[in-house]
């Protein structure tokens, strides 16, 4: 007879988990790729062709596109969604005041008016912004869209109890009356101090502080109109009313949904969209390796999260010339970096921090993230190349082979009084194999100059809330280094920098991505940039912020993220938009 007791343990061995965890993009709105491009420029199918031009251009209408998501959508509700791919995709079923142009490369970074007729008009020192809406735009049930619907959409997104996951720009910046809790809890409060709707097609925003880059705020999906009588709060995500060329059908939460043509969408009111396919089918919670295999075999058209293929498919794509020809390698406006926390001794001394900047092997960082194709390009600045205002500089040259300048590191160690190195801990998110590999790389590289690191994994759900982002915890547990990453909510300096270098976002109660930057001068520089209405001047100011932060050696930039994407065999008009660093979902067409 046999030992029977193994059951549960065996069941548990059976209950272990396949480690192919794809992490959804941690990024928000989008970023740009730094490549030249112009629309209607068709290119031969070659490696990375879609980053600069359009592959398989076509105006043919019809066909079905199949999308898959390795996890669940964060939410389809435009008032709460906060991921780049979702903002990219939302343009299919919603129209916001402004939107990123559906064009390849750098041109995709341009803001064009969508629901609005023209970009916003500033007044009162950039504190008040006015938009006029286009006429004739309708919801998918036939009712006309008015400015009240846009106002309602924005106001509902400020209800952070019902929608805790979305961006918080409006609630922080609009001049809302005190005690306002959103249209569900305080429906009768007068909110004209924040948003006025003098007539059916005019909407006026009043901000608390000047905000010169307002058009970027206006492209957020939470300005997509929501009809008040069809709003179901937290359940609206399952019954969205569309203003875009497609509307929802067969929505099964957590499983799948389809988009079909919205017959109420009038192309005459919409010069921005081609709306070629008849139908989109989206499957949720599909195994990540499966997605890759199906993309390669042609059973799937788009991996919608667009973080790139898994390592298994990566090696297939890179070693097989036919597959490589059909792949793209866009830069996204995302930086993978490591915070060097000055609140943890001896990193309070700038020279000790500089030692880390010099000693780390940047190529190992790149390799840990997936190499030059799937990981990214070596980074020496905080702003990625795709953000206007980026300038290339390197304050801590790491040697000709980029494996670290050990002499400079040792000199810095002596300068800070730790000639034989020191010990500290490095925090990372346990579920992210790339962060684990990077932490190990840090351990190896810094060990060369005597800096001993102990690895500390933490669950990613609480990483900022309770561990690396909780200042008292960081000090108590000596988290000198914390792996980090940031993607711009939208491709401009404010979108990229505000959440990671502004000391005022750091909370004693935790939760901020900024774990290490506390420079009052930088805060002032950020504020003055926001009053500068001249876009070029403003972008330059962001560049200066970048340099100033790097001077303090509180951030170690790792790589500018790139992803390896596989093109669909069925899709047409395949192009990468720099706005999101992904394929432009709005422009895609289908052959069948």
């Amino acid at each position: 007879m046999d030992h029977s007791r193994s059951w549960r343990a065996r069941g548990l061995a059976a209950a272990g988990v396949s480690a192919a965890l794809v992490l959804a993009a941690c990024g928000g709105g989008g970023g740009a790729g730094g490549q030249q491009g112009s629309s209607n420029q068709s290119t031969q199918a070659a490696f990375n062709a879609a980053s600069t031009g359009v592959v398989s251009p076509s105006d043919k209408k019809g066909g079905t596109l199949k999308f898959a998501n390795a996890g669940d959508w964060d939410t389809l509700d435009p008032g709460e969604t906060y991921y780049a791919y979702s903002w990219n995709f939302a343009r299919l079923y919603g129209r916001s005041l402004m939107m990123f142009k559906s064009a390849p490369g750098k041109e995709g970074n341009q803001l064009v008016p969508d629901l609005a007729e023209a970009p916003g008009q500033a007044s009162d020192n950039a504190k008040t912004w006015t938009y006029k809406l286009r006429k004739g735009v309708k919801f998918d049930d036939g009712t006309e869209v008015t400015s009240a619907d846009v106002k309602y959409a924005v106001l509902r997104s400020t209800d952070k109890q019902t929608f805790p996951n979305g961006p918080a720009y409006w609630d922080g910046m609009l001049n809302l009356p005190s005690g306002y809790k959103g249209p569900y809890k305080t429906p009768n409060m007068n909110t004209d101090s924040a948003i006025e709707t003098p007539d059916k097609s005019t909407i006026v925003f009043h901000m608390k502080q000047p905000f010169a880059a307002f058009d970027y705020l206006a492209q957020q999906p939470n300005t997509m109109p929501v009809p008040k009588d069809k709003d179901t709060g937290a359940k609206y995500r399952n019954s969205i009313v569309s203003t875009g060329p497609y509307k929802f059908a067969d929505l099964q939460p957590g499983k799948s949904f389809n988009l079909v043509r919205n017959d109420q969408w009038d192309p005459a009111t919409d010069p921005n969209r081609k709306a070629l396919p008849d139908r989109m089918e989206v499957a949720l919670n599909v195994n990540a390796d499966d997605i890759d295999n199906r993309l390669i075999s042609g059973d799937l058209d788009v991996d919608v999260v667009a973080t790139g293929v898994q390592p298994a498919a990566q090696s297939r794509v890179l070693t097989d010339p036919t597959l490589k020809e059909n792949a793209d390698n866009p830069l996204s406006a995302r930086l993978w970096y490591t915070s060097i926390n000055p609140t943890v001794a001896p990193l309070n001394n700038i020279d000790c921090r500089k030692a880390i900047e010099y000693a780390m092997d940047r190529t190992a960082y790149q390799t840990a993230y997936g190499g030059q194709f799937a990981g990214g390009d070596l980074a020496t600045t905080i702003l990625p190349p795709s953000i206007p205002g980026y300038s290339k500089f390197d304050l801590f040259p790491d040697g000709p082979d980029h494996k670290g300048d050990l002499d400079a590191a040792k000199k810095s160690l002596e300068a800070c009084g730790q000639p034989n190195g020191f010990e500290t801990n490095i925090a990372y998110r346990a579920e992210r194999p790339k962060e684990k590999a990077t932490a190990e790389a840090f351990q190896q590289a810094l060990g060369r100059v005597g800096i001993k690191l102990t690895l500390k994994p933490y669950p990613q759900g609480d990483y900022f809330a309770q561990y690396a982002g909780l200042p008292p915890y960081v000090v108590k547990n000596k988290l000198g280094l914390a792996l980090n990453g940031w993607a711009a909510d939208w491709p401009d300096g404010f979108g990229f920098l505000s959440q990671i270098v502004d000391s005022r976002v750091i909370r004693a109660t935790g939760g901020s991505s900024n774990t290490s930057v506390r420079i009052p001068e930088v805060d002032k520089m950020l504020d003055s940039a926001l009053t500068e209405l001249n876009t070029d001047k403003r972008n330059q100011m962001w560049g200066e912020v970048d340099k100033r932060v790097m001077e303090d050696a509180v951030i170690y930039p790792g790589v500018y993220s790139k992803s390896l994407l596989v093109r669909s065999k069925n899709a047409t008009n395949i192009m990468v938009t720099d706005a999101y660093g992904e394929y432009d979902y709005l422009g895609l067409g289908a052959q069948k």
Binding site: H3, R5, A19, Q314, T367, A368, G371, A430, A437
Partner: protein, 332 residues
């Protein structure tokens, strides 16, 4: 008189009597001697046993072995990885197998797989052995007590076993391992982690041994020799120690040997979930978990997988052989 180990006693069953097959020779041999003779004849089990000894030696002498046959287990060798082509795969066939790296290197960081497998054996064996010890200790104690004393103690213990059996072990394991502070009970870092894993694996598996021993005890309790001991006036403690325990050693031994491979697999699964040993320390389960993502690099999955497989196989073969040897009813 001695009795054979009970087999398959899951529920609270009174098991059928066993027929003791005599040794045949005129000189009486103890069960131990009989078992040893049988075991020696069972080549397969013997093979398993020898392999296990080899494995234990490997684990003990790991640093020495790695010093001569491999590279330090945590050392990166990025020159052996294809960074130029961007695939980050080991250069060379079979994962970069060479005399320097007998099993090749890992993708992405180029660590020597051979030394990681050798060091990993320490972790896997240590945790499996100690966890089994814990399970057996608790299970045997509670099993004997509840089987022997009976009554309310028995009911209570059985219900307790039910709770443990129905328990969502996964939830507990992840929650505990995720939340446990880094320093506690005088241990820290990986030492604490290992202790925690031993606790989780060992503590929650005791009902299995517990139920078996309880079943055994229940049947033994009704035997004549126990009754006669009682009638003489022997106290409970004496009966437990001199009459019951020797008869229970056989099943304890057998099931322990069979529990160890299960625990090895269990630890591998927990490492998979990310609640195992902290990197960069190597463990077989952790290596497999890393390797699954790189399934186009079969060598990476192959070696730790093979290590687990062969170890578990050896334990199973040996355990089976041991059980057959200790069971006089098995016809040879």
């Amino acid at each position: 008189m001695t009795l054979p180990p009970e087999v398959g006693a899951e529920a609270e069953a009174a098991v059928p009597e066993a027929v003791l097959v005599g040794a045949g020779a005129t000189e009486g041999r103890s069960l131990g001697q009989i078992a040893w003779m049988r075991l020696k004849r069972d080549k397969v089990a013997l093979g398993g046993g020898i392999f296990l000894i080899f494995l234990i030696l490997l684990a003990i002498f790991a640093p020495l072995i790695v010093k001569y046959l491999g590279s330090p287990p945590n050392e990166f060798h990025q020159e052996l990885i294809d960074t130029a082509g961007g695939t980050l795969e080991p250069i060379g066939r079979f994962g970069g197998m060479s005399w320097d790296h007998l099993m090749g290197v890992e993708p992405v960081n180029g660590r020597d797989i051979f030394s990681r497998v050798v060091y990993g054996s320490r972790i896997s064996l240590l945790i499996a052995f100690l966890a089994t010890l814990l399970s057996v200790a608790i299970g045997t104690t509670l099993g004997i007590i509840s089987g022997f004393i009976g009554g309310w103690t028995d009911t209570l213990t059985s219900r307790l076993m039910d709770v443990f059996l129905a328990f969502p072990l996964l939830v507990l394991a992840i929650a505990l391992a995720g939340v446990f502070p880094d320093q506690a009970f005088g241990l820290q870092g990986n030492q604490l982690r290992i202790a925690l894993l031993i606790f989780i694996i060992g503590f929650f598996n005791w009902p299995y041994i517990g139920r078996i021993i309880r079943g055994q005890t229940l049947s033994l309790r009704e035997r004549e020799f126990v009754e006669s001991a009682r009638s003489i006036g022997a106290r409970r403690g004496y009966i437990l120690r001199t009459e019951m325990l020797p008869n229970l050693i056989a099943p304890i031994l057998v099931y322990s040997t069979l529990l160890i491979p299960t625990n090895i697999l269990f630890e591998a699964a927990l490492s998979f979930l990310g609640v195992g040993i902290r990197p960069p320390t190597a463990s077989w389960g952790g290596m497999l978990s890393d390797a699954v993502v790189f399934y186009t690099q079969p060598h990476f999955m192959f070696w730790p997988g093979m290590a687990i497989f062969v170890t578990v196989l050896a334990f199973n073969l040996f355990g089976d052989g041991l059980r057959d040897a200790l069971d006089p009813r098995a016809n040879r």
